[in-house]
Symmetry: C2
Subunit: 242 residues, 2 copies
DNA sequence: CGGCTGATTGATGACCGTCAATGAAGGTGG
DNA sequence: CCACCTTCATTGACGGTCATCAATCAGCCG
């Protein structure tokens, strides 16, 4: 079960998101990474088929029978787990090239929902397995991608366990920027409560923290969910390590 | 700082630990999982060589050139990352069968230290790569193990981001027990500050929380770092989900 | 332009961190 | 074998960060 591949059709919309928690088969080739729809170097390109999901739509739910893996082609997806009483932890935000649903389990272990309108490739597990059998090098690529995910997850543990609210928000913004190749202006297609549930905070705290960063002239909040990083160095200091 | 042969006197001592954060190549075969040094079904058995480390010893440090991967044969290891100012997040505690240092990066991304006296197998990356080339099925096993790690990491994110101190401690104790096959009596070879740095708490809070659980008759604290789970159901309720 | 959803701002307080002291345990040396 | 010392766990007092509760405020859409 696993997956991957790189290339992606709509990637030119440069959706921000950032984390991972799934597998990025495209090692972030920089800004204009994924444009061509069918790259011969993408072993997954011919598997399954793509589908467009509207914004705020469920792709699969924690506990569902896991018959396929998915790859985000464009747009943004959030993955999350919930506690019985409704508390939510967003595991990651996925963007073009990222994979999800990979696991050697019979059921999905988290819920996947679109944040924006999103194109997603669905790949039956059987096809993926066949590909791994046929191309051993592909299994290694999947392993590499999964390992990167694991590293990102470990960074997130540091953030959640040991960083203050300001450090969490600064880190989050920098990650988004890095994912876009270090651009100064980033997109925030997700709402404040998504950010909060990803950082282990509340929407109010996220909002207050952003306001403080704005007052300190470290960021500027633009219309349309965009945001300007005015002082990257100061943000990096605040982020405390990454 | 590392080595020394302290004899593996305690190897058969079934150290508890629980998390993962590395790769468990032995799918938890029960209690006496790793005793025989050379299992024919273990493709790693013939690679590298084993060494005994004393307790509280560094195996490798974050940032070191990463030339080998390691597998814990017995004992317990903690993996952690630190922020520049010294705050520490323990990524996981490893036990027999778990692997560490796996990453397609030039440097180790976390520090590994023994908690107890520990026997560790060191495997040069070149040998591991050769094995993957020779046995494609092995690469799949590694992928499977890494995926399990990732799942555990995601559960830890829920714990760190959304659980209260009591829920964190209860979850931690139950995980330790599960790792021992659900036994009622568990070992806590690590100190309170290790537990705290793993759960995103302070030693004082861990201590107070354990005292509360003791007063509520949910646990009993025994000598020698052992602990009895008196009411597993109540603990599971408290843990809130897992 | 009214109504809805989400973001912001304010007031209050709880949970847990910090600082500090005491107590228990293990290791060493006399 | 016991006294001493070091290390760690426990307990207490206090305070801060961030959650909670609540009220605007801003943007979006029909």
């Amino acid at each position: 079960m696993s997956t991957h591949a790189a290339i992606a059709a709509h990637a030119n919309r440069a959706v921000p998101g950032y984390l991972v928690s799934a597998l990025a088969m495209t090692p972030n080739t920089g800004v204009g990474a994924a444009i061509q729809p069918r790259n011969p170097a993408d072993p997954l390109a011919s598997l399954g088929h793509a589908k467009v999901y509207e914004r705020e739509t469920t792709v699969f739910t924690e506990g569902d029978a896991a018959g396929s893996v998915f790859r985000v082609m464009s747009g943004m997806v959030r993955l999350y787990k919930m506690l019985p009483d409704g508390r939510r932890q967003i595991i990651g935000f996925l963007q073009a090239g990222d994979m999800m649903g990979l696991a050697f389990a019979a059921q999905y272990l988290y819920t996947a929902e679109t944040v924006t309108a999103t194109t997603i490739q669905r790949i039956p597990r059987l096809e993926l397995d066949a590909l791994m059998d046929a191309q051993p090098a592909f299994a290694r690529k999947l392993l590499s991608a999964t390992t990167s995910e694991l590293m990102a997850a470990q960074d997130q543990m540091v953030l959640l366990g040991r960083k203050t609210a300001a450090e969490k928000v600064a880190t989050f913004l920098l990650r988004l920027s890095d994912r876009k190749g270090g651009e100064q202006t980033i997109d925030l297609p997700m709402g404040r409560s998504d950010i909060a549930d990803h950082l282990g905070l509340t929407t109010e705290t996220v909002s207050r923290t952003l306001t403080k960063l704005k007052s300190s002239r470290l960021i500027r909040i633009l219309v349309g969910g965009k945001l300007d990083l005015l002082d990257r160095d100061a943000l990096a200091d605040l982020a405390g390590g990454f």
